[in-house]
Each structure stands twice: as structure tokens, then as C-alpha cells.
């Protein structure tokens, strides 16, 4: 018996079509096995597909990592009760977590992988209406998706009696209007219902009471775009990449002070050291200072975390979260208090205002950080910020408030002295050019 072979350092699955000529067109997609998984899926029973996705170990790619097949299995089925209601599939394409830039290239380069995934998933959960909620600023993705939907209707992959199966599905590509909070799944549902995007109290969860109070699956773009490959490759193939508990390939988005930023699709569990080698190392050789493993809501890492396996378990064990694998890389020239101030201004702006800890907490954190960065910090500020964070974390209505505390508490954990030095010296931060613009940028 041979040892299972380790996959290659990069494993393009979702990204494998991106270099092809007009990769977004249905011709290219069909020429590269597109819509064959749909035929296989429609020949099966829906519950077989749910079992397949469970077996594959696919976990949600939107940040939380919830097992996808399990989420689908929560949808009540049957002729009575909640099972008798219409079911809905909603795709969370409201990509806006700072650092995250994987879904927009996916939708631009290969929209049909998402559309095919939507059809298979809708069949599995027995939904006849699917909405793809795309952030409004992602205009070209919206066009590509709408064109892909139109092509799919023309080919009989959407509409009534899809490929003679008797299954019917309509897909609407819905443009958001600029609100980060709508990436939170219940806020997204409220927004899709034509309301302010504010999160709902849970339970009830969307699986029983989602869109229009009906059973609803909300999944991320990358999650659903993975489904056709799981159908065509099988769960064992999918599990030949990644780790036992975090299987499959993942798009890592490298940005910031790195020689070759970009999208790198690697098996889950790759480390930043390995990714940096692939990306040509730190820009201009200036050493790494801090980085986020998966967006600004995931606690910061430093150079001591270069060998942390970037899967759900590895990132958590090292005190952060995998999030959206949005790897933002900052070198020694960047002031930590300044970066934290900028992120906190973001959370303050995006706080929906529904709950007091988040609305008031982010407001006061910004006041403290802006004052500190302007050289007017006080010795109590660090402890005050930690105290405010303590009053937000776990006490806010949704994960936005929790996420707002991540950059602050992790920055103080690893760079407390830099905050204290800034307060003691009362200078402007290391990069006064950034500071000078701050007032305007936060107006």
C-alpha cells in the first residue's frame, strides 16, 4: 500500500479556467466539462447530493467554515409543516471584508461555475428560486452573472423542466447598494427583502425561517462554485487536497507588501511561508511586520506565525481564524496603531446601528484611536480600548461587532509597546504622509 501522495503546492480547481480565452462564456465552460456535473446530479436523488457534499467535507468559504452538506440537510423537507413551504437558495456575493478579493475574480472569470453550482444546490435542497446577492460596486460581476444566467436559460439549464428532469429553477442576480453588514447572512436576507440590512435575532435560523420566513440556504460564492467539481470528481478526490477537517483547495488572496500579490489556489493548510515563496517574498525585501490570515476581522498574525497551517483548525489554534483567506501583508514601515485606526473607522462606518455595544463601541474606539494617532494619546487609552472591546465581544448582535475588536485586541497583544511608545512620545505616527490625509479620509 502506498502512502497518499501530497498534492502539488498549487492546485488550480476553481481557478483552472481563468486563463482561457473568454473564460466567462458558456462555450468555454462547456468545452471544459461545464454542465456535465449538472447532468450527473439531475440523474440522482437530491439526498444523494447532500450526502456527497457531506462526505466531501466541504466547509463554507465565506469565513465561518460551517460544513456545507450539514447546512443543506437542515432544510426541512416533506409535505407538511416547514417542509411544505417553498425553499430558497441565496448566494452571498456581498464580498467586502477588508482584504477579501476572491469571489469577485471568480464571478468575473468563471461565472458559470457558480451558476452550475446554484442549479445543483437548488436541486439538492429542492429550491425553485435562487437569488445571487452581489454587492452593487461589483458591477462587472453583475453583468457577467446576468449574461451567464441568460446563456443558461437559452441552453435549457434554467427555467422549467431543466434538461427534461422536471426540475424548475429561476435565478435572479440582485445588486446590493453598499453596506458591508449585508455580508452577514440574516442582514443579507433582510436586505434582499427590501429592508435596511440589519441582522436578525437567531434562532430561528435561515434553514427554517430565512427568505420570506421560508427555509433558506445561504452560501458563499466560492462554496457553491466548488459543488460542480465535487460532483464530477467525487468526495475522495476533493479530500485528496487539504486536511482531514479542512479538505479541498482554497483561493488565497495575497495583497499588500509582497512582490507578486494575487490569487493563489492551494490546498487548505498551506502556510504563509510557503505562500510568500510562491509570491516572490516580501516587496523590496522589507521585513514582514503583521498580517491577517483572513480579512480584518480575523486577529492579526506576526512573523512568528509564518508556519501556521492556514486551515480552519490551524488558524484557530494559533489564536486567529481562517476567515476568507484574505492574506493582507504589511511590512515594517506600517504603523500598527494607524492600521488599527483605519480598520476601526471602517467598522464604525459599517456598523448598522441596531445594537448598542457595536454602534457606540466602534464610535468611541475611533475617537480614542484617532486622538492617539494624532499624538494625543493618554496612558489609560490601551486599557480603555481593551475594556470597550470586552464590552463588544460576545455582547453585540452579530459578528460585525466581534470582528471590530479583532484588530484591536490582537494588535495590543503583539504590539502593546508600540501603542505605549506612541502615547509616551506623542509624535505623529511613523508615516506622517498618511496621517496628514487622515482627517479628510474619515470625513
Amino acid at each position: 500500500m502506498t502512502e497518499p501522495t501530497r498534492p502539488d503546492p498549487l492546485t488550480p480547481v476553481l481557478t483552472r479556467r481563468w486563463q482561457l480565452d473568454r473564460s466567462w462564456s458558456i462555450d468555454t465552460y462547456e468545452r471544459t466539462d461545464g454542465y456535465t456535473a449538472l447532468r450527473t446530479a439531475l440523474a440522482a436523488q437530491p439526498d444523494q447530493l447532500i450526502t456527497l457534499v457531506k462526505d466531501s467535507g466541504l466547509r463554507g468559504r465565506g469565513g465561518a467554515g460551517f460544513p456545507t452538506g450539514m447546512k443543506w440537510s437542515f432544510i426541512p423537507q416533506g409535505p407538511t409543516g416547514a417542509g411544505a413551504k417553498p425553499k430558497y437558495l441565496v448566494i452571498n456575493a456581498d464580498e467586502g471584508e477588508p482584504g477579501t478579493c476572491k469571489d469577485i475574480p471568480t464571478m468575473m472569470a468563471d461565472p458559470h461555475s457558480l451558476i452550475e453550482g446554484c442549479i445543483i444546490t437548488s436541486y439538492a435542497i429542492r429550491a425553485n428560486f435562487c437569488a445571487i446577492y452581489v454587492r452593487g460596486e461589483a458591477l462587472h460581476c453583475i453583468r457577467r452573472l446576468r449574461q451567464a444566467v441568460a446563456e443558461a436559460y437559452a441552453k435549457g439549464y434554467l427555467g422549467t423542466d431543466i434538461l427534461g428532469s422536471g426540475f424548475a429553477l429561476d435565478i435572479v442576480v440582485h445588486a446590493g447598494a453598499g453596506a458591508y453588514i449585508c455580508g452577514e447572512e440574516t442582514a443579507l436576507l433582510d436586505s434582499l427583502e427590501g429592508r435596511r440590512g440589519q441582522p436578525r435575532l437567531k434562532p430561528p435560523f435561515p434553514a427554517t425561517s430565512g427568505l420570506y420566513a421560508s427555509p433558506t440556504v445561504v452560501n458563499n460564492v466560492e462554496t457553491i462554485a466548488s459543488v460542480p467539481d465535487i460532483v464530477s470528481g467525487g468526495s475522495d478526490w476533493f479530500r485528496s487536497m487539504g486536511t482531514e477537517k479542512s479538505p479541498g483547495p482554497k483561493i488565497y488572496s495575497l495583497s499588500g507588501h509582497v512582490e507578486r500579490p494575487g490569487q493563489y489556489e492551494a490546498p487548505l493548510g498551506v502556510t504563509l511561508r510557503e505562500l510568500l515563496e510562491l509570491a516572490g517574498g516580501m516587496k523590496d525585501g522589507i521585513p514582514l511586520k503583521f498580517w491577517t490570515p483572513g480579512g480584518s476581522s480575523t486577529p492579526l498574525f506576526t512573523a512568528e506565525h509564518l508556519d501556521v497551517p492556514l486551515d480552519f483548525e490551524g488558524a484557530a489554534a494559533a489564536g486567529s481564524m481562517l476567515g476568507t483567506t484574505a492574506v493582507q501583508i504589511f511590512n515594517e514601515t506600517v504603523s500598527v496603531p494607524w492600521a488599527v485606526m483605519k480598520w476601526t473607522e471602517f467598522y464604525k462606518h459599517e456598523s448598522c446601528g441596531k445594537c448598542t455595544p457595536c454602534r457606540e463601541g466602534t464610535y468611541w474606539l475611533v475617537q480614542i484611536l484617532e486622538r492617539m494617532v494624532h499624538g494625543r494619546g493618554t496612558v489609560e487609552d490601551v486599557e480603555t480600548m481593551l475594556d470597550i472591546c470586552d464590552n463588544i465581544l460576545g455582547r453585540s448582535f452579530c459578528a460585525l461587532g466581534d470582528g471590530a475588536t479583532s484588530p484591536i485586541t490582537s494588535a495590543i497583544k503583539y504590539f502593546r509597546q508600540e501603542f505605549l511608545d506612541l502615547i509616551a512620545e506623542q509624535p505623529a505616527v511613523a508615516r506622517p504622509d498618511q496621517l496628514a490625509q487622515m482627517t479628510g479620509a474619515s470625513a
Binding site: 503546492p9 488550480p12 450526502t51 468575473m108 460596486e137 458591477l139 462587472h140 447598494a177 504589511f330 498618511q434
Partner: protein, 273 residues
């Protein structure tokens, strides 16, 4: 503030508000106030409503439609949505004021959005925004967030804003013009871009369709594309987008081989007793 005299519970004195508060209730009867919302627009609103299982889901796209007509969301636009969806103007206003893409004042021909979130800011976004503020300002005052240079709606007029993360961090710092991406910007390139827009030119975005104007784009967001197959073309793959895929090709790296045939699906789970 002084309280009115008397005890309100005794009904002994008429309670009146301060003189300066004058309440102008908006008319809610009669035909739609603005002739801007013509029959074509009403028909489009009906088309939007027909896309959804429940009509109120049409509100966000309809507010984009309103912006395509008026280049902002006016009170008349709010009334239009309210009447089409049979919900109150308060309910529409609550939504219109929540989302940053709905603008309260008339915008320029173009909307220039500069990402000033942490990563773009560190890579130069803050400097770009400051430069554009100075450049588009007048009489020594820099242009503020969501302010417009030039007469709103006229050719070459520009509304400037700083934006939160635009989800193109590998291409930082980024600018959007009418939500089309201009990647890897510098202070100089951003200045040239704005100069060209002011002159009435329409530089091609790094990724996206040929530049039009904000109103056309708002109509697209509402779901009405002038020629969908045509506007869905255009460049969309930056070198950064395919860095990993290109490197894998160069090194001969691939995902593990798939089975030749689609594997059989797992059997149905045992029926619950």
C-alpha cells in the same frame, strides 16, 4: 428649552411646540409629483417587481432605477417607490438612507470612488484621495466626501468619495469610476484619470466595460443593460488575478487527477424509522 406651562395631564393648558418648528407634511395623495418618472420608468419598475416572489424585494433595484433617472434619490423618487410598492414613504426613506450607494444630492456625470481602507491606504490610497480632493476643490477648499466638482449632471462633472474596501486588494490601490475598476493606481495616474474625465474623455477601465456615466450604470444595476452580451465583454483578468494559475502552469503543478468518469453518488441515507 422651557416646558409649556400647566400640567398636560390636567388638560388645563394647550401644549404647543416651540415657534420655530414648522411642520410641512408632504402631500401623499394625487399623482406622482415628478414628471421624471415617466411611463418607461414605471414599466421598468413593474418588470423589476415581477422578478421576485415578493414585491418588496424590488426596492433596492428600484432605488437604483430612481438614481438612473435623477442621478440621486430625491423625495419624488422615494414617493415613486412608495407608490409602486404600496409601502410608506417612511419605509422607503429608511432603506434609501441606509445604503451608501444611494446618494442624497445630485451627482456628477461620474462617481470617482477611492478606496481608503487600510491596505489600499497603506499602498497609496490615502495620498490619492487627498490629491484628488485638492485637485477637484475650489477656492482653496478641498472637495469633501460625496461633493461634486462642476455642475451636477453636466459633462465632466465628478462626484468624489472615499470608499471602503472594494474587494480588489491584490490590485491596490484601486479606484472605481462608476463602479468600473481602475487598478494599481498612483497619485499621478489618478490625477491623469480625473483630468481626462474633466475633459469629457472616457478612459477604459483596467477591468470592466467601456466607461459610460453614473446614470447609465445605475440603470444597469437596476437590471437594464443597453446590450448585455456586449457590456459583459471587456477585460477582466489582471495579471494578479491569474498569478497562481500561471505559476502552476510554469511549474507543471495541477490539482490531483480526477476519475475518468464521474464517480457514483453515495447511496441514499437510510430512511429514518
Amino acid at each position: 428649552m422651557t416646558l409649556p406651562e400647566g400640567n398636560p395631564e390636567m388638560n388645563s393648558a394647550e401644549v404647543t411646540g416651540p415657534d420655530e418648528v414648522v411642520w410641512h407634511p408632504e402631500a401623499t395623495e394625487g399623482p406622482i409629483a415628478s414628471p421624471a418618472f415617466d411611463e418607461v420608468t414605471r414599466q421598468r419598475a413593474k418588470e423589476i417587481i415581477a422578478r421576485y416572489p415578493q414585491s418588496r424585494s424590488a426596492l433596492l433595484p428600484m432605488l437604483h432605477l430612481v438614481q438612473s433617472v435623477e442621478n440621486h434619490v430625491s423625495q419624488a423618487g422615494i414617493r415613486f417607490c412608495s407608490e409602486m410598492l404600496e409601502i410608506t414613504t417612511a419605509e422607503v426613506s429608511a432603506v434609501a438612507t441606509f445604503y451608501t450607494m444611494y446618494k442624497r444630492n445630485p451627482c456628477g456625470e461620474h462617481l470617482v470612488s477611492v478606496c481608503t481602507n487600510t491596505l489600499c491606504a497603506a499602498m497609496g490610497g490615502d495620498a490619492i484621495y487627498a490629491r484628488l480632493q485638492d485637485k477637484l476643490g475650489s477656492e482653496g477648499r478641498p472637495l469633501g466626501h460625496e461633493e461634486t466638482a462642476g455642475e451636477p449632471g453636466t459633462p465632466g462633472s465628478i462626484t468624489l468619495e472615499h470608499a471602503e474596501c472594494l474587494a480588489a486588494c491584490d490590485l491596490a490601490p484601486v479606484i472605481q469610476v462608476n463602479y468600473e475598476y481602475f487598478d494599481n493606481q498612483s497619485v499621478d495616474s489618478a490625477e491623469e484619470l480625473v483630468d481626462a474625465l474633466r475633459r469629457g474623455e472616457k478612459p477604459h477601465p483596467t477591468r470592466g466595460a467601456p466607461l459610460t456615466d453614473l446614470r447609465t450604470v445605475e440603470l444597469e444595476l437596476a437590471g437594464f443593460h443597453p446590450d448585455l452580451a456586449a457590456v459583459a465583454e471587456g477585460p477582466s483578468i489582471a495579471p494578479e488575478t491569474v498569478r497562481g494559475a500561471v505559476l502552476a502552469d510554469e511549474r507543471g503543478w495541477t490539482a490531483p487527477a480526477r476519475p475518468a468518469e464521474h464517480p457514483a453518488l453515495p447511496p441514499l441515507p437510510e430512511a429514518k424509522p
